[in-house]
Amino acid sequence: MRSSSFVAKADYYPKMRSKDKISYFYDGDVGSVYFGPNHPMKPHRLCMTHHLVLSYDLHKKMEIYRPHKAYPVELAQFHSADYVEFLHRITPDKQHLFMSDMAKYNLGEDCPVFDNLFEFCQIYAGGTIDAARRLNNQLCDIAINWAGGLHHAKKCGASGFCYINDLVLGILELLKYHARVLYIDIDVHHGDGVEEAFFFTDRVMTVSFHKYGDRFFPGTGDVKEIGEREGKYYAINVPLKDGIDDASFARLFKTIISKVVEFYQPGVIVLQCGADSLAGDRLGCFNLSIDGNIFVLIMLQLTGHAECVRFVKKFNLPLLVTGGGGYTKENVARCWTLETGVLLDTDLPNEIPDNEYIKYFGPDCSLRIPNGHIENLNSKSYLTAIKMQVLENLRCIQHAPSVQMQEVPPDFYIPDFDEDENPDERINQHTQDKVIQRDDEYYDGDHDNDHNMNDV
């Protein structure tokens, strides 16, 4: 009964695949990885996510795998052998002996050396590689590795809490079976490592939505960065300013991604779901909710972080979903759990079931978080300009001679999305308030009922 309010949402997409085979990767060892005091990256969030996923009984709909620990030689498919070797060798006790190498590989500070560092890298990279292989062999339709998505790591060095770039490794794996791979990145930070790795190739198109400017890390990702050589026009950057809200983000995302998929016709999609683009993230600066919705005219429009996942899923292409940033642990767990549900076509009730970590989700213990209230510095004209620029670049790939378009997936499908729908005609605040109010009433009523029942 309580879930009835979400039925409407699910029915909004009539063309959902009936049954996807999902492979989900998790290794219990990541929970005890510790980057060091005061470091915002807390792998324990993966443990919380997994626990929440299971609390919601989502394991009943998917297979769960323990990834193999990627071998150094696998990591060296992308990374330089010396870097991998160094990561393998270095320990916190020995790091002072290798100061120059530490500096060379950009270790320390942002990317500290800690116990089990290499094992941690092996696990998350192994997860993404395994996920890619399962997709390649059509053992599943969607593969999820929340531990992966460390998109800053460079070929010869660490960067921004990322040591091994599992995404690049996974994409390289996918490239063995697919002519074209689409990489989408909704982390608040620019996916520079992946973009850089595939800067010269048209076989991977990277699309990153991120905060850009004010020296926000990593400082790359201008809209003018479009790739070079064969890869020219195959890197798309959507630079955003502080405080972008659900509605504009969703619109921008859907417009651009639907065009990208239409033009590029990828064989497989890799989606990096960094949760630091959520409101209230410790390092992020966007206003996205996990799973929002607004009324546009009379239609319920889904927005928020999870809507990006839902939208990408609708393309019915093999999909590799990874985690990424996310520095407010409980929101990361909320977000990725809900998105696991989205990928499983399962709507999750808002009340988090009792579990060991329930207190992290207090005091209200609800799954969805509200939007943030950072001032939105993205003017409508700015967003339009960015969108136009991106679409213009996109049109160039049609004329590029090097595009290989032979491969068109059989069940290729572009969902209907009306990009011309006028954002001005969004419901006004008053109507919105009414909707919210009604929701509240609904739950209040629910509580009352329960109390009554208890009394009886």
Binding site: S23, F25, G28, G31, S32, V33, Y34, H39, P40, H51, L54, Y56, D57, L58, H59, K60, I64, Y65, R66, S100, N106, G108, E109, D110, P112, G127, R133, C156, G157, G160, F161, L172, A179, R180, D192, E196, F198, F199, F200, G213, D214, R215, F216, T220, G221, D222, E228, L283, E330, D347, L348, P353, N355, E356, K359, Y360, G362, Q406, D450, N454
Partner: protein
């Protein structure tokens, strides 16, 4: 090496900073002893500066006493040239001495009015300019006391002294202006222009304007001044870095030291001792000489820029006591900040809080000003990255573009050390070489799946709000349901339960901790370095500590926050203050009380928590 040609000259300037240059300038100044000043030819720049300073003052100080419309009008509607008035009056010794000497008539004549208007002029002077006059006098008076304390070096207190020093110079300059004619000013302007051009980093006009704007703002508030000097330093550094990257490829390790040295040297052009270049003795790098000279040229350029800067600020090249540039404080601030922010993830966190320069100028808080500084670290970082670049032509091209655009952001790096090797698509699927697809840990029970298919839409079951507990919603009730769910999971998952370490999860962890150890852990965390404390817990592995931290300690803190400060919840900031939870909540809470686990003791536990 754009800066090379001016290097020698620069060094000379450096060395003669306090004496030589002064003489040089005095030379300029003493050329003319004309008492009669041709104010009208004095140049718009100075006038403009005066106007803006005055505006700031009027806005700031005079608002209390009613508004002062600009331009100042006499009774008959004629405007008074305040600048001229001010200069002439100060030339005669200021308001008091002019009044005492009954010189107002003379003043009126000097600035082109009838003697009869002397009363009005006096009033206007009193209303508009007296405050400025006093302010300048005050600063001049302070000079003596200020001089003594310069040696101590960099605190914020000193900074304000420094500011006063600067402003005093300003006042001195005002006096000087009276003595000099337009010729000197013109000379100086020429000199400045040359200097600016030689600096070559900033387009002269723009720099001039910027500097000028900045100065005016500075006059109002010393914090603002700090801010702007930071902006300057930042700019200089940017120049340093750009220039550096394009001209040299060096080893990285060498580089870091050198950069800091360079920044130090370049930032403090007034210091006579340049110090030794770190790493030079090691002799690892044969190119260090070049680097050194580069740094020196930057230092030189910066000195020149500073001259320009001062020139614009003070309309004069003259500087008697200027020993310390505000940017010298920058190092302190930067290190302060480092220690405050910690070393971790400096880039992300700092860059987050960065504000654009204009906001920075508006900001009145020193803290905000500090934020300007972190711009260095990404730049530095970029530099490090760029060190790696092989002699790739495209990189060079990029860099050239970088310099031209005075870039703020980074670029994707290209070259064999950056891109992945992507094989051409042949249309043939390459054989998967791997037997690794992951180990299946859990497979959903197909039978169960089918039977429950109808309800899979809502598979995820929410928290049940109804239960048969004696007191639904109580702590015991929650605990019971948590345990119930855990048992259910354990039954369902079988081995996977242990694979995922679900058995080592939750507040039960605290069962293996003694009261004593828990207390100690809390203490260690309070010291803000939890795993320094490894030695405090000889019998615990590192993993035990991490596990306790996440499963017990943070949950305890969080549950405190949930109850006591629900508006201010943060389980991710290790530095956050944590409330006082009872000494051994974890232990006593998990301990099953004899045979009565299901009896909800309403108050006791709740009291325990708080």
């Amino acid at each position: 090496m754009a800066g090379w040609p001016v290097y020698d000259h620069g060094l000379e300037l450096n060395c003669t900073e306090n004496s030589g240059r002064k003489e040089l300038i005095n030379g300029y100044l003493s050329k003319s002893d004309d008492d009669d000043v041709k104010w009208d030819n004095c140049g718009d720049k100075l006038r403009c500066l005066f106007d803006q300073v005055l505006m700031v003052l009027l806005r700031g100080v005079y608002t209390k006493n009613g508004s002062r419309p600009i331009p100042a009008l006499l009774g008959d509607g004629r405007t008074v040239d305040l600048f001229k008035l001010f200069c002439v009056v100060r030339e005669r010794g200021g308001f008091v001495s002019v009044s005492e000497g009954k010189l107002w008539g003379l003043i009126a004549e000097k600035i082109g009015f009838d003697c009869s208007l002397c009363g009005s002029l006096k009033l206007i002077y009193y209303k508009y300019l007296d405050e400025l006059d006093q302010w300048l006098n005050r600063i001049t008076r302070d000079r003596v006391s200020v001089n003594g304390s310069y040696e101590c070096g960099g605190s914020l207190g000193l900074l304000s002294l420094e500011l006063e020093n600067r402003l005093r110079n300003f006042s001195i300059d005002e006096k000087e202006v009276k003595k000099d004619g337009d010729i000197q000013y013109g000379n100086i302007c020429n000199y400045v222009d040359v200097a600016v051009k030689e600096t070559s980093h900033l387009p002269d006009v723009r720099a001039g304007i910027e500097v000028h704007d900045v100065v005016v703002k500075l006059a109002a508030n010393d914090r603002e001044r700090l801010c702007d000097s930071l902006v300057f330093a930042g700019k200089a550094k940017k120049n340093v870095i750009n220039e550096d990257v394009t001209t040299r490829k060096r080893k990285r390790d060498m580089f870091r030291e050198t950069l800091s040295w360079m920044i130090r040297v370049a930032k403090n052009p007034c210091r006579l001792s340049i110090g030794t270049l770190p790493g030079s003795s090691g002799g690892k790098e044969s190119g260090w000489k070049e680097l050194r000279s580069l740094a020196l040229s930057i230092r030189e350029a910066r000195l020149r820029k500073r001259c320009t800067d001062l020139n614009d600020q003070q309309s004069q090249f003259h500087q008697k006591k200027h020993k310390m540039h505000p940017s010298m404080y920058e190092d302190n601030i930067f290190s302060d900040q480092l220690s405050a922010e910690g070393l971790r993830c400096s880039e992300r966190i700092l860059s987050l809080s960065n504000t654009p320069p204009c906001q920075c100028c508006k900001s009145f808080s020193v803290n905000k000003c500090k934020l300007k500084n972190p711009s260095e670290s990404p730049l530095e970082n970029r530099l490090h990255k760029k060190e790696q670049v092989n002699a790739d032509i495209s990189v060079m091209k990029r860099e050239i573009i970088n310099i031209e655009d005075a870039p703020v952001e980074n670029h994707i790096l290209v070259g064999p050390r950056f891109q992945a090797k992507v094989p051409l698509w042949t249309g043939i699927i390459s054989e998967s070489d791997s037997k690794w697809f992951g180990t299946q840990v859990w497979i959903p029970d197909l039978k169960e799946e089918q039977t429950s298919f109808s309800e899979t839409k809502f598979l995820g079951k929410g928290r049940s709000l109804s239960c048969n507990c004696h007191l639904p919603g109580s702590v015991e009730c929650h605990r019971f349901h948590i345990a119930e769910n855990k048992m259910k999971l354990r039954r369902e998952l079988g081995l996977a339960f242990f694979h995922w370490k679900f058995d080592r999860m939750g507040e039960e962890i605290s069962l293996s901790w003694s009261l004593e150890e828990e207390k100690r852990f809390k203490e260690v965390v309070r010291l803000n370095n939890p795993f320094l404390g490894k030695s405090f817990f000889p019998r615990k592995t590192r993993m035990d500590l991490v596990s306790y931290y996440y499963n017990v300690f943070l949950i305890k803190r969080r549950s405190y926050q949930n109850r006591v400060t629900p508006k201010d919840i943060n389980s991710d900031d290790d530095e956050a203050e944590f409330g006082s939870v009872s000494e051994a909540f974890g232990y006593s809470a998990v301990k099953v009380r004899g045979s009565e686990p299901l009896i909800c003791l309403q108050n006791e536990q709740v009291m325990d928590l708080d």
